[in-house]
Amino acid sequence: MGLTLAEKILSQRAGREVRAGELVVVEVDQVMVVDSIAGSFFKRLEQLGATPRYPEKVAIVIDHVAPAANVEVAKAQKEIREWGKRHGCRVFDVGRGICHQVLVEERLALPGGIVLGSDSHSTTYGGVACFGSGMGATDIALAAASGRTWLRVPESVKVTFRGRLNPAVSAKDAALEMVRVLTADGATYMSVEIHLEDGAESLTRSQRLTLANLSVEAGAKCGLVVPSGEILELYDVPGWLYPDPDAAYVREVEIDLSALTPRVSVPFYVDNVQTVDSVMGKKVDQVFVGTCTNGRLDDLHEVAEVLRGRRVAPGVRMLVIPASSQVLEEATADGTLLTILQAGATLGTPGCGPCMGRHQGVLAPGEVCVSTSNRNFKGRMGAADAEIYLASPRVAAASAVAGFITTPEALEREETHA
């Protein structure tokens, strides 16, 4: 019996063949810490009486509340800067961007590598076939202190995407469909191994990151996209970094990209996925484009395409937050941001923004937000009864213009008939 992609990566690192169910202790390439757990991380290291074993392998990213929202946060971020300097660890400061995007841009997450992050969406690195997994402060501190972590080699669910997305559909729709099919705990403790076939190999790095990002919403330990297409051009992909054809999977799922229609995840769970048609017309108060799921350049391009020559509806706030300073620069240079701003949207500092309800776009009671992010839990973006609908950048942009949930195609039909 062959090995899955997760088994391949962990075997390579363990220096022996390991199988699902085994416990391994492996070296990690990079430990990623975000501002919001940095304090706990420092505290745990203190409790251990340890300092980072390999300072160059520890990166702290100030992104969850950037810039600081209050004095408590400002103090915590000051400590991060001082701590980073003292221990020789990288600190990506306010404005550099969202941890996952930054680690990919900085090439700290690479094919075949292992990156542990203090953020659950560290599965994102799987978009470039890097074993990325989220853990809490204690595990992250142990990884920093030892350079290693313990892992149970996960079973794998194989998800095969076939065909090409039609122009009205995004990788986000494919990701939401995957979560719907797997359900919120359908891949708990497992690796979601994503295969792209029959044209789907053309999905870009950005689109693959979106798929891997959402895999944690099915409970996954990691979401690994088998390397192909653009990944082979951007990276030196080692020859062993492919699953064996006779690898064993717990479950196999197929999703036809060419038959997919726009999706939306309705409150209050990510796997409450429906077609946009079923919630079309729902009035929105805020639209948020950004986050580690959909704040990249191609996402902003899709938004600009919809917004060009149109205006955000009166009474609707549209907040756009590029995922990183690099995205911000590129979207400025190519005119994308001008289009977005001319439509009446507003910008935030590269970072996580209002995704977890801490600042910059918190929702009032009863408000409705269409967001390109990855979670719509009750109270996540503010008031307990505010509603978050998760959608693609295209659907988010069209909804901002209409003032209610809609697609660019439906918007255009309506405008033509008006």
Binding site: V25, V65, G136, D185, T188, M356, K378, G379
Partner: protein
């Protein structure tokens, strides 16, 4: 006597500790007072050390924020009985020394407010004259828990439970 606080399926880390009440937002000394602030506002006031959390499927899904279970630990939680757990949350519980029992049948029969006694080393739960057996976590995790926490274990042995030579 310790009481049961019963929740349903899919309680997530935003339920357990909403993001806006993270320690670095509101202070280390206060954050735990916001546990379940949206879902069950009386929780933090009413929870007594030793009380037990009982929950349904996929308990703790969502964020890796360890300060969610840490808030519960600060309130005096030592054990959770659930139908199943989300992965990161499960690791965080063990790391904080909160014993995660997985016992779907027991969850079914327990009610909110039940008075119970739990001997968690043995995994024995008593309610009046009834006794329930709970399966403890895997051996290597218990090895860590027996030292108090995985941090203590690592500090003492310089390696992880189940690991050969460091």
């Amino acid at each position: 006597m310790p009481r049961v606080w019963k929740f349903g399926d899919s309680i997530n880390t935003d339920d357990i500790l909403p993001g806006k009440y993270a320690p670095f937002m509101v202070g280390e000394d206060r954050f735990h007072t916001y546990a379940f602030a949206h879902l069950r506002p009386e929780f933090a006031q009413g929870f007594r050390p030793g009380d037990i959390l009982v929950a349904g499927r996929n308990t703790g899904l969502g964020s890796s924020r360890e300060y969610a279970p840490e808030a519960l630990r600060k309130l005096g939680l030592r054990a959770i009985i659930a139908k199943s757990y989300a992965r990161i949350f499960y690791r965080n519980l063990v790391n904080l020394g909160i014993m995660p029992f997985e016992a779907p049948e027991v969850v079914e029969v327990l009610n909110d407010g039940d008075e119970v006694e739990l001997e968690f080393e043995q995994g024995v739960l008593r309610r009046g004259s009834e006794t329930f057996r709970l399966t403890p976590p895997p051996a290597f995790l218990l090895e860590a828990l027996q030292e108090g926490s995985i941090l203590e274990y690592y500090r003492k042995y310089g390696k992880f439970p189940g690991e050969g030579t460091p």
